[in-house]
């Protein structure tokens, strides 16, 4: 048994396992990352992540644990509803990524809300 087969076979087995894991893991759990306009024009099946800016019509209820707002990008907007704790910097004007599904009622039901962390590295040009 040559050295190549002796060491190559286990390596191939491990590589195959890793490939299999990657394939199965990403197949079921991958989501589309799209903008509001894209969601409006053709919504993909399953969960998606939608990035947009929060409009200034935020309404909270249930002691702050439920919120509805409009998320928009340059051309379209959509209503979002979410239950749970909000990210700290959640306020109109910030970019937020909503993860969830567009319901038949036209409202996006978000499972998770991710707000972009305040930029550590963004060079905001200093304005007067």
């Amino acid at each position: 048994m040559t050295s190549l087969i002796k060491w190559g076979a286990p390596a191939a087995v491990v590589a195959a396992c890793v490939g299999y894991l990657i394939f199965t893991a990403s197949g079921g759990t991958g989501e589309y990352y799209i903008t509001v306009s894209e969601l409006r024009s053709h919504a993909p099946a399953g969960d998606v992540r939608v990035a947009g800016v929060i409009h200034n019509d935020v309404q909270k209820s249930v002691g702050g644990l439920h919120v509805t707002f409009t998320e928009k990008d340059s051309t379209s907007s959509m209503p979002v509803e979410y239950s749970g704790a909000l990210p700290d910097i959640f306020q109109p004007g910030i970019t937020v990524v909503a993860e969830g599904k567009l319901g038949s009622d036209g409202v996006f039901h978000a499972r998770t809300l991710l707000a972009k962390c305040p930029s550590r590295f963004a060079t905001q040009p200093y304005t007067q």
Binding site: R49, L65, R120
Partner: protein
């Protein structure tokens, strides 16, 4: 203003010196001209001094509130506490690059000083490679993203630090992680120099390993600090989000973990050289790749990074390093193949290290794919992203397999397993069976738990049994073989941390609830009573603080509002930590009717993560403090490790 000019000048001088060092070092190394090798080295030290000067100037500008510098105005203001002003040095794009370059220059100088006697040509090539990396960073700093940019008019006050960064974690976590990233360049330079020169002796290899260990330790600390900061400050109840920023810090760490282990095969049996060179080079390439990914904005991340000008430069540098490394490995490949000792059977310590390498590389592949998927998929259609479930399902089984390897590997002899091995394996096997029974008795039914915890117990049992064996027969060997027993201690620490991670992932419970004063909430058997809330006025913000009674403790989760920053809010989490679980309370909001909304989480065994992390670092320190001199090391080993000249 003058600080700006001085700083820009220092960076420019440093750039010239680094470029000069690079050219001269390569030339003099090829010629083996001792005098010019020394000149090249001195140019590197001088470049490092220039970086030091620039760093001092930037810190001075920050501490004196010199708002004529754009960087100072953008990352501090007059009301920021002085410690955080100082930390602004590494808080922004340009400053963090300068900090990185400073670490690179200082560590590089130290490594050159320590290696000056180990071989003229090798030392020269290593200097040349490190100077090349330094030249690139100084170029970016001097030309593309300068921390010393001046504003046309000096403003009276700065923009200040974002509230989420106004925390002790900000002081510690970034500099450690950045130092970790920077330090991977050193072992890369030494390994590439050895390949370039076609020679590497034992002293050189130990030198490389020592600096790889330093980089690994820094990165371990940085990762742990980051997890601690995310958990205690960011308030979402977790410590790891598989965000690109986290992933790019993890991948070089995984590659270096593999290297630190498989380098032992090179030391003991003179084999796996190609693996080791490849792993060290891979770690550095992953660092540069990671820097490109997170500073260019090409993949979505919760950490905002401006699509800045430095992205393309890092991509170009990555391409350069890739080509250089690939050519080097290809051309020198045949020199790496001569093995003084024949291969061991598969079931041996050598085999275990090969399997370890494969598994760790597998984890790197899983994480890498998840990180670049948005970029790749975006190029061919709609952008796709993956979340935590992908990483858990993809990497989880591999990590569990690694746990099993940690249980069996240390007990396998070099030349192949036999009866004594089977007898030694009874300890981990017994520990696994006992814990499996224990879990079953407690009603645990989750398959991941039933697999992970017994294997963790087995891995711990192996390490402890090795200590036990040593204590019973020859306690002195623990001191003499410090590296090995320090590593066993680190293994124990890793197992403890792994158990903490598994428990807090698998056993987390949470509840969202709105309470009136006096009402209670119970999560996972822990009961909290809401006592009331009050508003407090502080220096730069107002804070709404709720009081939750938990047993005889008072937890005070709060929400801070920074009026000066447009009413931006910040959560202050309240955590009650015991050895068994953390009770984690977030104040979501309060209403005029006196009620308040909370998210309450119970995270089991989180403190084990931090404790385990400390034990890992302890094991590494104890195992490697005061290394024996190269001469005595060489005498101990009977195996020649020199590459053919």
């Amino acid at each position: 203003m003058i600080l700006g000019y001085l700083g820009a000048g220092a960076l420019l001088a440093g750039l010239v010196l680094a470029g000069f060092s690079m050219l001269l070092s390569f030339w003099s190394g090829a010629r083996e001209s001792a005098v010019f090798v020394q000149v090249g080295r001195r140019a590197f030290y001088a470049a490092a001094a220039m970086v030091g000067v620039a760093a001092i100037l930037l810190e001075t500008a920050l501490l004196t509130h010199d708002f004529s510098l754009a960087y100072v105005a953008e990352h501090s203001d007059l009301s920021t506490p002085i410690a955080l002003v100082a930390a602004g040095f590494y808080g922004g794009q340009e400053g963090s690059l300068l900090y990185w370059t400073l670490i690179l220059a200082v560590l590089g100088s130290a490594s050159l000083l320590a290696s000056a006697r180990l071989g003229e040509r090798l030392a020269a090539y290593a200097a040349g490679i490190m100077a090349a990396i330094l030249t690139f960073f100084l170029f970016v700093l001097a030309v593309v993203a300068s921390p010393f940019e001046l504003l046309p008019i000096t403003p009276p006050d700065g923009l200040g630090l974002n509230p989420i960064l106004r925390d002790g974690g900000m002081l510690i976590h970034p500099p450690v992680v950045l130092a970790g990233f920077a330090s991977f360049a050193i072992p890369f330079a030494f390994a590439a120099a050895a390949l370039l020169a076609g020679r590497a002796d034992a002293g050189w290899i130990r030198h490389t390993r020592r600096f790889a260990l330093l980089a690994w330790s820094l990165q371990t600390s940085g990762l742990l600090l980051g997890m601690w900061w995310a958990y205690h400050v960011l308030g979402w109840g977790g410590y790891w989000g598989w965000d690109p920023v986290e992933n790019v810090a993890l991948m070089p760490w995984l590659a270096t973990t593999a290297y630190l282990h498989s380098s032992q095969v090179q030391e003991h049996r003179g084999r796996m050289r190609a693996w080791n060179f490849g792993l060290v080079i891979l770690a550095f390439l992953l660092v540069i790749f990671g820097t490109f990914i997170v500073r260019s904005g090409v993949v979505p991340s919760v950490h905002t990074f401006a699509i800045s000008a430095i992205g393309p430069w890092f991509l170009g540098f990555l391409g350069l390093c890739l080509v250089f490394s690939a050519v080097l490995l290809a051309v020198r490949a045949e020199r790496l193949n001569a093995a003084p000792l024949p291969a061991a059977p598969l079931v041996s310590r050598e085999g275990a290290f090969v399997l370890q390498n494969l598994l760790l590389l597998g984890v790197v592949a899983v994480v890498l794919w998840g990180t670049v998927l948005p970029l790749v998929s975006g190029m061919f259609g709609t952008q796709r992203v993956v979340g935590a479930p992908y990483y858990e399902r993809g990497a989880g089984p591999l990590l569990v397999a690694l746990l099993a390897l940690m249980a069996a590997g240390p007990l396998l002899p070099w030349r192949g397993a036999g009866m004594p091995t089977l007898r030694a394996l009874r300890w981990p096997a017994g520990a696994a069976v006992l814990s499996l029974l224990g879990l079953a008795v407690f009603g645990v039914r989750s398959v991941p738990a039933l697999v992970a915890f017994p294997l963790a117990a087995a891995a711990a049992a192996t390490a402890i049994s090795e200590y036990g064996r040593a204590v019973l027969r020859r306690p002195r060997v623990i001191l003499r073989r410090r590296r090995r027993y320090g590593a066993y201690l680190a293994h124990v620490g890793l197992v403890v941390a792994a158990v903490g991670i598994a428990a807090s992932q698998l056993g987390q419970q949470e509840k969202d609830v709105t309470l009136q004063p006096g009402q209670q909430v119970t999560v996972a058997g822990y009961t909290l009573t809401y006592a009331g809330a009050e508003s407090r006025d502080l220096e730069d913000h107002t804070e709404l603080v709720a009081t939750m009674r938990f047993g005889d403790q008072s937890l005070e989760p709060g929400r801070a509002t920074y009026a000066l920053l447009g009413g931006q809010g910040l959560t202050h989490v309240a955590i009650s930590t015991t050895a068994w679980a953390d009770v984690y309370v977030v104040l979501v909001a309060s209403s005029e009717d006196g009620s308040a909304s909370f998210r309450v989480l119970v995270n089991p065994l989180v403190s084990w993560i931090w404790a385990g992390g400390i034990v890992i670092i302890l094991g590494v320190l104890l195992g490697n403090a005061g290394e024996p001199s190269p001469a005595s090391e060489l005498a101990r080993r009977r195996v020649p490790i020199t590459l053919p000249a």
